[in-house]
């Protein structure tokens, strides 16, 4: 009777329990059996280092790098756990729970830029990578990328993986169908400004009936926001003192107005990025363009599948560059093998590894040595019609500016994106959307 009484709650509990169990079973498979044996004893069975990642498509692009490591290191095996596509809504809250409760987190965890403010504010969550000699890596990274991985009390906790960069992915085959130029330089020339971009979109939709111009409001809102942030002191929702400035920062209002215009002109497929429907839409040609920071290339190619090969291409983005996204790797203090975990984090951020991730999947290295690697500079992406991604991303990489994101950035970002998306799917009226965006942001930050 007790069982049937609370079925909703029970199901909920069992979902959570199942999630917890998955994690627990992984950790017991990897960690606890090892903890009794000293890490240095060579005869013991291999140490398993769990690397937790997030993101759509090929996400961090670690597949090949991990296979290579596992083949070369019999004593330390890496196991990647890709938890979810969504960082703010799922990955980060779950990670915070694990970090505060002291159990559940992997040995190496990925953190998106949006979570770094909070991660920095909690040095007690992280192992100090200086203890494992990784201070020596400082010269490998641009100053801002390095310093963002150092907490206020001087602990080195995060090593940079990728950086944003900005481009626009487009469907060359559909452009051709619409009578537009499909060759990437000519496509870039179509839209020096965002107004041009919208005009071309109208032309396109006049010709191709079943495909919308852009995926939804959120991706382009982000692209626009990061471009505007660069013009407004490199801040978005919070100023450097962590005060909420959503209503005061012109970057936010401008990006919002742009998203609103795109939606009102009917240029979006009304899909929210990093959802299953969005992924399906990429494959089925629901939209012709999508804003593409470097790491988005792997997302698009994986979502589109083999059928999309050669159909997608990469052009420059209207309105100049921007730095949306990029992540860090950290070793939680709760890891039972911090030394081995640090070795893995070190390996995954080495110039050679980051360079091969770029050529295989597209995530732009934050490692400056990798950025200068000729293989990176000259890289072409086969999926995107052999687009010269090295030229597109690597050339501008050194000029990218860091954008400051506050401690509660992840929560506020989700609240704001929900309004930007709600405006597109019709659940928020256009004329009330801005006020609601500000109100919801205040609530989320509170």
């Amino acid at each position: 009777m007790m069982i049937s009484k609370r079925r909703g709650g029970l199901v909920a509990a069992s979902v959570l329990a199942a999630a917890a169990l998955t994690v627990a079973s992984c950790s017991s498979g990897g960690g606890t059996s090892q903890s009794s044996a000293p890490a240095s004893s060579g005869a013991a069975e291999p140490v398993t280092i769990r690397v937790q990642t997030f993101g759509g498509g090929t996400n961090f692009g670690y597949k090949n790098a991990i296979e290579k490591w596992n083949a070369e290191h019999k004593d330390i095996q890496i196991k990647e756990e890709h938890l979810t596509d969504q960082f703010e809504q799922q990955y980060w809250p779950q990670m915070i729970q694990w970090l505060t409760s002291g159990t559940g987190a992997g040995d190496v965890v990925g953190i998106d830029e949006g979570g770094m403010g909070l991660a920095k504010a909690h040095p007690e969550w992280w192992a100090d990578l200086k203890e494992f000699g990784l201070e020596s890596r400082k010269a490998d990274f641009p100053a801002w990328k390095w310093e963002n991985g150092v907490s206020a009390d001087g602990k080195l906790f995060g090593l940079g993986t990728d950086i944003g960069g900005m481009s626009l992915c487009y469907r060359a085959d559909l452009f051709k169908q619409a009578g537009l130029p499909s060759e990437r330089d000519k496509v870039s020339a179509l839209w020096p400004t965002w107004d041009d971009f919208m005009k071309v979109g109208q032309q396109f939709q006049g010709k191709v009936k079943d495909t919308k111009w852009a995926d939804g409001t959120n991706t382009l809102y982000q692209v626009y926001l990061y471009q505007e942030a660069a013009k407004n002191g490199n801040v978005t929702y919070f100023d450097q003192q962590n005060n909420l400035i959503v209503d005061k920062n012109p970057a936010v209002k401008n990006a919002f107005d742009f998203a609103s215009k795109m939606s009102q002109q009917g240029l979006t497929a009304k899909l929210r990025n990093f959802t299953e429907e969005w992924a399906a839409g990429t494959q089925k040609g629901a939209f012709a363009t999508v804003g593409c920071p470097s790491w988005m290339l792997g997302v698009v190619s994986d979502n589109a599948g083999d059928g999309g090969k050669g159909k997608w291409d990469v052009a420059s983005v209207p309105g100049g560059g921007g730095n949306w996204g990029g992540s860090w790797l950290a070793v939680p203090k709760q890891s039972k093998h911090p030394k081995e975990a640090a070795m893995v984090a070190d390996y995954l951020t080495q110039a050679q590894t980051e360079a091969s991730i770029f050529t295989d999947f597209g995530n732009m290295p934050s490692n400056t040595k990798a950025q200068q690697d000729p293989a990176v500079q000259g890289a072409k992406n086969e999926f995107f019609n052999d687009a010269p991604i090295g030229e597109i991303f690597a050339k501008s990489a050194s000029s990218l500016q860091p954008v400051f994101l506050g401690v509660k950035h992840a929560q506020v970002k989700n609240a704001i994106e929900s309004v930007v998306q709600g405006m597109d799917d019709g659940s928020v009226a256009y004329d009330k959307a801005w006020q609601q965006l500000v109100d919801d942001a205040v609530k989320a930050a509170g």
């Binding site: 909703g8 909920a12 979902v15 929210r272 299953e276 399906a280 799917d425 659940s427 928020v428 989320a444």
Partner: protein, 318 residues
């Protein structure tokens, strides 16, 4: 049954002459053992039922933040909740989806049970088969229904389109989202309730029906005037059960939005249970979530009371 066998057993123990040292043991046997035997349930209930209940109440009076500050604010969380549009939206969603799911579910289950209560071939196999949806994994159900109710390339929209109805955006429009989720809930739980109704129907004495048949009552009349009134205790159980299940609805709407507790871009189908998880485990405002949990508890009490009064009237008289 176990109650009257126990004293008898102990009485027979008493008759034997025991050395004085074992008196304590024998007294414990009489006085303590029954309690010891029933205690596991109560201990578990205390650990997993009462303690969380009290703990939740305690924290609902505090402002408990991720930053680690804990501050006594009395009923502050409750007053804030009552003025929180998002909370009321979740309450309306929950009640709305509950009604949309439960009313058809009860009727369907009742008629299904009535049909299963007849004599036919492969009776057992067919009766068992209505339970199949229940033993299917929630995730599998969610995957299938998510695709059925997809905005683009979804089967339901395709069927609606073929009869000239404009496609719904199932995750953006409030009422359509409720309908989709209610369908998912009913698919899972109708069979389960039907089996309980069936069990209830089988306890109704046959001679009542025979007497009614002799008096010339039709099958339909028998259903309304014998089956339904005699089923009342079962019905009270099933309705209370569904009330509790429906008002704590969580997994269906969550999986319907890719495992996200937002329940739509503007909380179109966020239930109170999802609201609690969001506030507690995403915003890390444990106190606020705890207060919401207590308000949900109140809501369930009210819902259960209303349903109890309502069902008691079924079948008229007494």
């Amino acid at each position: 049954m176990s109650l009257d066998t126990l004293p008898r057993a102990t009485r027979s123990n008493h008759r034997r002459v025991r050395p004085p040292g074992r008196r304590w043991a024998s007294r414990f046997d009489v006085k303590g053992m029954p309690y010891a035997l029933v205690s596991p349930y109560f201990l578990l209930f205390a650990a997993f039922g009462l303690f969380p209940l009290a703990f939740t109440l305690y924290y609902s009076l505090y402002d408990y933040d991720l930053a680690g500050t804990t501050e006594w604010i009395g009923l502050g969380n409750y007053t804030a909740l009552l003025g929180d549009d998002a909370f009321w939206r979740a309450v309306i969603n929950t009640v709305g989806m509950f009604l949309l799911a439960t009313v058809p579910q009860m009727l369907l289950a009742l008629f299904l049970a009535n049909a299963l209560n007849k004599r036919f071939r492969f009776r057992l196999a067919i009766r068992m088969s209505v339970l199949l949806p229940l033993v299917t994994s929630v995730v599998a159900v969610a995957v299938v229904f998510t695709q059925l109710f997809a905005r683009d390339w979804g089967l339901i929209n395709w069927i609606l389109g073929s009869v000239g109805v404009d496609p719904f955006n199932w995750r953006a429009e409030r009422i359509p989202s409720w309908i989709a989720i209610a369908t998912m809930v009913d698919w899972r739980w109708t069979g389960y309730n039907a089996i309980i109704f069936l069990a209830g129907m089988q306890t109704i004495p046959r001679d009542l029906y025979e007497a009614a048949a002799i008096d010339g009552a039709s099958r339909r009349r028998q259903f309304w005037q014998i089956t339904l009134p005699m089923l009342r205790p079962t019905m009270i159980f099933v309705v209370l059960n569904s009330t509790i299940g429906g008002l704590t609805l969580f997994s269906e709407p969550t999986t319907f939005y890719g495992g996200n507790v937002d329940g739509g871009s503007q909380g179109q189908f966020q239930t109170v249970a999802m609201f609690i998880v969001k506030e507690g485990f995403r915003e890390f405002d444990y106190g606020y979530a705890a207060a919401a949990a207590w308000l949900l508890f109140l809501l369930i009490l009210i819902g259960a009371a209303i349903n109890f009064l309502f069902v008691r009237r079924i079948g008229g008289t007494k």
